[in-house]
């Protein structure tokens, strides 16, 4: 669940053309409408340009995470006309700009100037932190209050669409496009397109780290097997003296490499799953939302196989050296 839904049908400003044809879609699609309006927000003689949302608190409760993301004070009630809720980023900005370092919290007074010139005083009822940059940079008043101030009725600037099955996103987007609702149809990634670039960057870093880990694993396994062959040199010599061929010695250390690889993979997978599960419960907060790890099965299998084979291959060189050594030198430990 997000603060914005999966798809937003958006018009510039407050529109009377944005219609609700979308409500005719199948089950599993939930809708909510919002007013968006640019406002000037004044606090302790400082004024900031902000983005105000007129919302229906009762409907939001079942649709978005807004009412569940209160970090200070409370959330709006349907009939509130003199209260606002601030996104965390707005609250932080006010605190920073006020120069007194005091956190803007519930109970503070602010003033808002609407685009139609109407000025209203509000009490900050609460602060919300939804972890996404759009909602945390917004100010929320009730739809009822915004309609009163702007003198509008049954208008909207955006219709937010929430899907029960996120996998149906593109299909539903296509359906909505066919309904001629008016306005731009944007998915979450359309709205935050830079995220795709960020994720590509993260993916490149992940690939580099994987390559480095693979190389490190191979080097470590190679060193372990080398140390083992050195410490067991005398035994290798004896083994060969009593009739073991090079292939026996080679396979002995290759099996050892394979065992180390399996143990390493088991340990690594355990740690990875532990961290993944921990992060699922305690996600990393980023400006565009919580970062929750996702394990792609095929990629995980590829990595496991790559680690296994690179480890076994890494043991090959020291194992071959040990196997090909002169028996008498090995027995003497040279």
């Amino acid at each position: 669940m997000t603060a914005m839904g999966s798809i937003v049908i958006k018009e510039k400003g407050i529109s009377s053309t944005l219609n609700w044809k979308v409500s005719g879609l199948d089950n599993g699609v939930h809708l909510i409408s919002r007013f968006n309006n640019g406002v000037s927000l004044s606090y302790k003689n400082k004024t900031f340009g902000e983005f105000a949302n007129g919302i229906s608190p009762g409907k939001e409760a079942g649709f978005s995470i807004l009412s569940k993301s209160v970090i200070d004070g409370g959330f709006l009630d349907e009939d509130d006309t003199s209260d606002v809720v601030l996104g965390k980023e707005v609250a932080d900005k006010l605190k920073k700009e006020s120069n007194d370092g005091v956190i803007v919290k519930s109970g503070e007074k602010i003033q808002m100037l609407y685009q139609n010139g109407k000025k209203r005083h509000y009490r900050v009822k609460g602060v919300v932190d939804t972890k996404d940059f759009i909602a945390t940079n917004s100010v929320f008043v009730t739809r009822k209050e915004m309609e009163n101030v702007l003198g509008l009725k049954n208008k909207a600037s955006e219709i937010c669409v929430k899907l029960e099955d996120p996998a149906a996103l593109n299909e539903i987007k296509k359906d909505i496009r066919g309904l001629d609702t008016g306005g731009k149809i944007l998915t979450w990634s359309d709205k935050a397109g830079f995220l795709e670039d960020v994720m590509k960057g993260v993916d490149v870093i992940r690939q580099i780290l994987s390559g480095v880990s693979l190389l490190l694993t191979a080097v470590i396994i190679s060193i372990i097997i080398y140390i083992n062959t050195q410490s067991k040199k005398r035994q290798i010599g004896i083994l060969k003296a009593i009739g073991a061929g090079n292939s026996v010695v080679l396979s002995m250390f290759m099996i050892q490499s394979a065992i180390f690889a399996v143990l390493g993979i088991a340990l690594g997978s355990g740690i990875f799953l532990g961290i993944t599960n921990y992060l699922k419960i305690n996600p990393i907060s980023l400006p565009f939302g919580d970062l929750v790890p996702y394990v792609e099965k095929n990629l995980a299998i590829t990595y496991v196989l790559a680690f296994f084979f690179s480890s076994v291959l890494a043991g090959l060189y020291p194992a071959r050296r040990a196997a090909k050594g002169v028996i008498i030198d090995s027995i003497r430990g040279e």
């Binding site: 004896i238 083994l239 009593i242 008498i328």
Partner: protein, 250 residues
């Protein structure tokens, strides 16, 4: 076998012909063996004696194909082994030779029984056969109560007995023993010599033993004396006083 050259009478198990071995120490060449000619008959017990640096261990290592000669030929059971490929040498060591080392050289992670099973398993024997043979050999060397003991739980003499049993595992044509008593006290050393003698007389095992102790060398049928890489003396000993035991061939 590719390099097979059948030599001498079927009576000879080992022959060396002008066997030489030199080492380079920096730019200095050291001659460890300077042309050894030696014959050992099947069922013979031969001791090689000599002062330190005379080349006796080098001779044993070359005979056991643990090292390469600089020149000369070695015939084991009629085959010129100096020209064998590495894989052929491995097979030869496994089937024709048994090694007994000065420091026993048992595998510490394996029990007495497992140490003896090892060469049998390398030869491809089934586990059941390996255990049966190893048990019989441990019984032969007087350690049937020590089957599941690890080397660290055995005395030096017992470890050397396990080592001898391991050497016998694949019924070798020749047992090569490198100073097998050097690391033992005199009583235990005498017991080990007695065991060698018993194996030679009762099991008809052919033994080539390197030792620096004259007392033990003279337990053998013949003594070859080395000095500066050359055979300087060779004589037969009188071993007629050996009292045969009741052990049957294993």
């Amino acid at each position: 076998m590719e390099n097979r050259v059948i030599r001498g009478s079927g009576d000879l198990i080992l022959e060396t012909e002008d066997l030489k071995k030199s080492y380079m120490t920096g730019h200095v060449e050291t001659h460890a063996l300077c042309g050894i000619n030696m014959d050992i008959k099947r069922g013979e017990f031969v001791a090689v004696m000599g002062p330190s640096g005379s080349g006796k261990t080098t001779l044993l290592n070359l005979t056991g194909m643990l090292d390469e000669p600089t020149r000369g030929a070695i015939y084991i059971d009629g085959h010129n082994v100096a020209n064998l490929k590495e894989s052929q040498k491995t097979k030869f060591r496994l089937t024709k030779l048994g090694f007994v080392f000065q420091f026993f050289n048992l595998f510490p992670e394996l029990t007495a029984l497992e140490n003896i099973c090892l060469p049998l398993m390398l030869k491809g024997k089934l586990k059941r056969e390996c255990v049966k043979r190893a048990t019989k050999l441990l019984s032969l060397v007087g350690l049937k109560e020590r089957l599941s003991h690890y080397p660290s739980e055995l005395s030096g003499g017992e470890q050397q007995r396990v080592s001898i049993a391991r050497a016998l595992a694949n019924r070798p044509a020749l047992i090569l023993a490198d100073e097998p008593t050097a690391n033992l006290d005199s009583t235990t050393a005498a017991e080990i010599m007695s065991l060698f003698k018993q194996l030679n007389k009762e099991q008809n095992e052919t033994i080539l033993m390197v030792t620096h102790e004259k007392e033990f060398a003279e337990e053998a049928d013949r003594v070859i004396q080395l000095k500066d890489g050359l055979v300087v003396d060779e004589y037969h000993t009188d071993t007629s006083e050996y009292q045969a035991g009741t052990q049957s061939k294993v």
